[in-house]
Assembly symmetry: C2
Homo-oligomer: 127 residues x 2
DNA sequence: ATTTGATTACGAAACAATTCGTATATCAAT
DNA sequence: ATTGATATACGAATTGTTTCGTAATCAAAT
């Protein structure tokens, strides 16, 4: 019995998954309105993407009413893990530590974030 | 004066850049032989990829002898930063901390690695 | 000089991702 | 019933990536 090999979501698909993970059940319009804030896109483009995601099994779809309701089917943690692992391999030659430092070296991490990571590392060390 | 907008390398291009960053100057055959260890690929496929990378300005090419010599033109740190930033946005909703924890939560990080990250974080905090 | 082997050049096929126009269906308001 | 607004379905164009076959070129060995 083999796991049904989950194919890696594309960038556009990730944008949509983010929204579904946060909001839960969504119509195409729900998703599209959020997407529009950060991106130029036609409605039917978003629709088509979500239909394809359904074909791929990334999302479920409730078609009982005229307006379909979508929901993420793939797990957020698992998907993130999958993508991070790939990046560690493909970009950082297998070293998780180097990825971490690169991610933190940037301005992007705030003092609070750094503290919470420290705490997390302490937890890890204990084991 | 605008920066010459460096387009994000594809996965295959990253595989090749990794090799060039490590080895320095390489012929197509050099690269191909290393690539073959971890991947099925024809020689002309590798050649074509490197030619395209040259067109894109990712690598330089010395054609003074019959066998051309390639070298990475893009900076390793900058490229990694670019890809990590994109992933933080696209996969982790802008939170570097969450990416870091995801990367570390995995089996992958050893005790030594964790310690070196801690040290790094202390340096960061001081500023 | 000819052959052999390795190299680059070129083009095209195969595939995947993205975008959107147009057609069709449904429902609610008139 | 008709209209208008909104939804999905479908197909196709566009663009980017990957793959590789074939031809042309060159150099070394015979």
């Amino acid at each position: 019995m083999s796991t049904p090999h989950q194919t890696k979501p594309t960038e556009s698909e990730m944008e949509i998954l983010q929204i579904l993970w946060e909001k839960g059940d969504c119509t195409v319009r729900d998703v599209h309105e959020i997407l529009e804030k950060s991106k130029e896109a036609g409605y039917t483009t978003t629709l088509k993407l979500m239909q394809i995601m359904h074909e791929k099994g990334l999302v479920s779809r409730d078609t009982s009413s005229k307006t379909h309701i979508y929901r993420a089917l793939v797990n957020q943690q698992k998907t993130q893990q999958q993508l991070v692992s790939k990046m560690i391999d493909n970009v950082f030659n297998g070293s998780a530590a180097r990825l971490v430092m690169q991610a933190l070296g940037n301005h992007s991490a705030s003092k609070d974030e750094i503290d919470s990571i420290k705490k997390y590392l302490d937890e890890l060390s204990k084991k």
